[in-house]
C-alpha cells in the first residue's frame, strides 16, 4: 500500500515527529511505499538543517533526510507555515530577500495542494501531531 503521512509538530517538542518517523520506517520495512510526507504547522521545523542536537540524542532532522534518501521519499514542507517560522530554501531566500537558506536535504517547500494530493493518491493518510 501507499501511505501519506502528515506531521503537524516540530522535533523535540512533542512525540509526534518520533512517532511519525517510526511509523514510516515500520511501513517501509513491511514493503509498503510512502507517497509523500507533508510537514505542516510547527512540523515544518523538522526540515531545518541547522539543528545541532547533543551527540547522545537522536538527530530527528538528519533521520528524515536519511530516510528520504534511502527510500526516495517526497518530503514536502508547507510554504506558508515555513515562511512564518523561517524555514527557507534557495528559491524562497531570493523571493523574500533573505540572506540565507536552511532547508535540510530531502525536503522541498511547496503548497497545501501537495497535502490534498497525498490524501487523494495515497491509500491511507496517517496524521501525527499534538
Amino acid at each position: 500500500m501507499e501511505f501519506g503521512i502528515l506531521v503537524n509538530e516540530g522535533p523535540y517538542q512533542h512525540q509526534a515527529a518520533d512517532s511519525a518517523y517510526l511509523f514510516a520506517k515500520a511501513a517501509l520495512e513491511k514493503g509498503h511505499k510512502i507517497y509523500r510526507i507533508f510537514f505542516y504547522h510547527d512540523g515544518v521545523n523538522n526540515g531545518t538543517r541547522l539543528t545541532t542536537p547533543p551527540q547522545d540524542d537522536r538527530n530527528i532532522v538528519e533521520r528524515w533526510s536519511q530516510l528520504a534518501e534511502e527510500h526516495d521519499i517526497d518530503m514536502v514542507i508547507c510554504v506558508a507555515a515555513a515562511q512564518r517560522r523561517g524555514i527557507v530554501d534557495p528559491e524562497e531566500m531570493k523571493r523574500n530577500g533573505k540572506d540565507a537558506d536552511n532547508i535540510a536535504p530531502g525536503f522541498r517547500i511547496s503548497g497545501l495542494g501537495q497535502l490534498i494530493e497525498a490524501g487523494i493518491k495515497a491509500d491511507r493518510l496517517v496524521v501525527f501531531g499534538d
Binding site: Q15, K30, V126
Partner: protein, 101 residues
C-alpha cells in the same frame, strides 16, 4: 467501512478519548499511542469508559509507548498490544485512519 482511530493524549488532560469513543462506530478500532496509552491502565477513573467501548470495539495500545512510560503492567483485559509493525498492519486492515489530536 471500518475505521481506525488513533488517540495520543492522556485521558487525564484531554477529552480526546471520550470524544473519540462517542463518535467511533461499533466494529471500529481505537489505537492508543503516545500519552494515550495511560487509558489502558486498570483502576483509573477511565477504566469504565474503556470497558464499555470494548463491548463493541477493539482497543489496541502501542507497546513501545507503554514501555517508555513504565505502564506495561496492570492493563485492562481485552486491550491488545501492538508494536509499530502492528500499527502499520492496523492502518492497512482498516479502510481509513482518523487521528484524534
Amino acid at each position: 467501512m471500518s475505521m481506525l482511530h488513533t488517540v495520543n493524549k492522556s485521558p487525564f488532560n484531554s477529552d480526546g478519548l471520550s470524544s473519540c469513543l462517542q463518535c467511533a462506530l461499533a466494529g471500529s478500532s481505537v489505537l492508543l499511542i503516545e500519552d494515550g496509552v495511560y487509558a489502558a491502565r486498570r483502576g483509573t477513573q477511565y477504566e469504565a469508559l474503556v470497558q464499555e467501548a470494548l463491548k463493541d470495539k477493539k482497543i489496541y495500545a502501542l507497546q513501545p509507548d507503554l514501555e517508555a512510560r513504565g505502564v506495561k503492567s496492570n492493563l485492562i483485559d481485552g486491550i491488545e498490544l501492538v508494536d509499530y509493525a502492528g500499527f502499520v498492519d492496523l492502518t492497512t486492515d482498516h479502510d481509513s485512519v482518523q487521528a484524534w489530536l
